[in-house]
């Protein structure tokens, strides 16, 4: 078959049906305060990593709720755990604990996948 170089573009739509909520559930079970995020961006503004590289701690919440484990595991390693975000958060969220839980959760669910 002749390859004309055209293909059907992949959809950009968030397909909520494909959403894997295990990691979100795991994080919220252990750090309930995370549900209170109002996306003000105070954390990102003060983030030591985010001021230098493409890393947005605020968007971790969105990745957890909309995205995939893969994307998230790439993102989360950029955090240096300095904790400045915790100091400015107007909703008193323990963001550092959220990051630690995500790291733990990723390992946990990846292992589950391998063993199953």
């Amino acid at each position: 078959m002749i390859d004309f170089g055209y293909k059907i573009a992949e959809t950009r739509t968030i397909d909520y049906e494909q959403f894997d909520g295990r990691l979100l559930e795991f994080v919220l079970e252990n750090e309930r305060s995370f549900v209170k995020c109002l996306s003000c961006g105070g954390c990102t503004a003060t983030c030591s990593a985010g001021n230098l590289i493409d890393f947005n701690i605020r968007k971790i919440n969105l990745f957890l709720r909309r995205g995939s484990l893969e994307e998230l595991s790439k993102e989360i390693d950029k955090c240096m755990l300095c904790g400045k975000c915790v100091l400015v958060c107007p909703r008193d969220i323990n963001i550092r604990n959220v990051v630690m839980l995500i790291k733990k959760g990723i390992v946990k669910f990846n292992n589950e996948q391998i063993s199953s």
Binding site: C40, A45, R58, P90
Partner: protein, 341 residues
């Protein structure tokens, strides 16, 4: 014999309620801890959403206290209260005591002390001021300068200072600051031709009639710009201008900006006056330190104690018209209570 009421607090709410009660045939004593009546509105220049002079409201309030059935005791605070017959016996900090049938708490609010948000630099950097300071600058009139004697070219308004912030212990929305910010931004745009103004917000709450219209006018007519992001910190440059940092959450990147003036839109708090008077009267407080209503929908002017009522912002943030309405409704509740007694 006329029935008597003691109003604690001589701001808008206390005076409006007292005037309404006097008109209904009651005798009212107002005690006010300051030497002047009128409360916080005395510090204001123009009012939202129609830029009306605040002196109109001050004049209205001054007239109200002219009634012969209203006695005013400035510099006076409530010291103790005891039940007596059907009413109360109230001692004050001065050599005056009151034998009264009902008590109205109209102790109002305090303005959030912006120094408490240390990272915003109020009280540290000269060019960081509050919305209240700005009103006073407007009242003075004349050419507008910042602390360095410069006509500001760029100004930032910071929303939600001391409101919606767990770090200050104030979880609630003070509700009047959003529209105050837009009003003040427009006033500055009128005063300083060509000035660039940015409002940094988390959510803009234009809850009142005409408020959304004013927001649109700010964008359309005055070119005021809005950035969705909460200030994380402010610092001073060598030329006394201020460097502010936030995330521009809609583009998803950290943002920094130099401005000649930062205006912090400070929220409302239940102040010491409310705390003291409420404690002496043994009424219940809510989790946010304002006085609790007996029923938040149906009996907003009743405290948890019989014979003790509230008017105005001692129960939560309110605008001026809301305060006046709440005060008149308090007068009706008191009338109902005293007629049934």
């Amino acid at each position: 014999m006329k029935k008597t009421i003691l109003t604690v607090g001589g701001g808008l709410a206390g005076i409006e309620a007292s005037k309404t009660l006097a008109d209904m045939g009651y005798s009212v004593s107002i005690i006010e801890k300051e030497n002047d009546l009128g409360g916080k509105v005395n510090q204001w220049h123009q009012l939202f959403p129609d830029f009306r002079e605040s002196s109109d409201v001050q004049d209205y309030i001054k007239q109200s206290t002219g009634s012969k059935d209203i006695m005013v005791f400035p510099g006076t605070e409530i010291a103790s209260i005891e039940k007596k017959d059907n009413g109360f016996y109230v001692k004050s900090n001065k050599a005056v005591a009151f034998d009264i049938d009902a008590i109205l708490l109209a102790t109002g609010f305090e303005i959030f002390a912006a120094e408490r948000k240390e990272e915003f630099g109020y009280g540290i950097y000269d060019n960081v001021i509050t919305s209240v300071d700005l009103e006073q600058k407007f009242r003075k009139g004349g050419q507008f300068y910042n602390a360095g004697g410069k006509v500001p070219k760029r100004i930032a308004f910071i929303h939600c200072v001391g409101s919606r912030d767990a770090k200050t212990g104030n979880h609630y929305c003070s509700k009047v600051c959003c529209i105050t910010g837009i009003k003040q931004a427009i006033e500055l745009a009128k005063l300083i031709p060509g000035v660039e103004i940015f409002c940094f917000y988390m959510d803009l709450r234009m809850y009142g009639l005409e408020y959304e219209e004013l927001y649109k006018t700010a964008q359309e007519k005055y070119g005021i710009q809005f950035i969705r992001g909460r200030l994380s910190e402010a610092s001073e440059n060598i030329d006394n201008s201020i460097l502010i940092k936030c995330e521009d959450t809609l583009s998803g990147r950290p943002l920094k900006m130099n401005v000649d003036l930062v205006v912090l839109l400070v929220g409302m708090e239940a102040g010491e006056g409310t705390q003291n008077a409420g404690t002496i009267c043994n009424v219940e407080f809510g989790s946010q330190r304002f006085i609790s209503c007996r029923d938040a929908h149906l009996r907003r002017n009743l405290t948890t104690r019989d014979g003790i009522f509230t008017a105005g912002t001692c129960t939560g943030p309110m605008s001026i018209p809301e305060t006046l309405e709440n005060a008149r409704s308090a007068a009706l509740e008191i009338h109902k209570y005293l007629s049934e007694k």
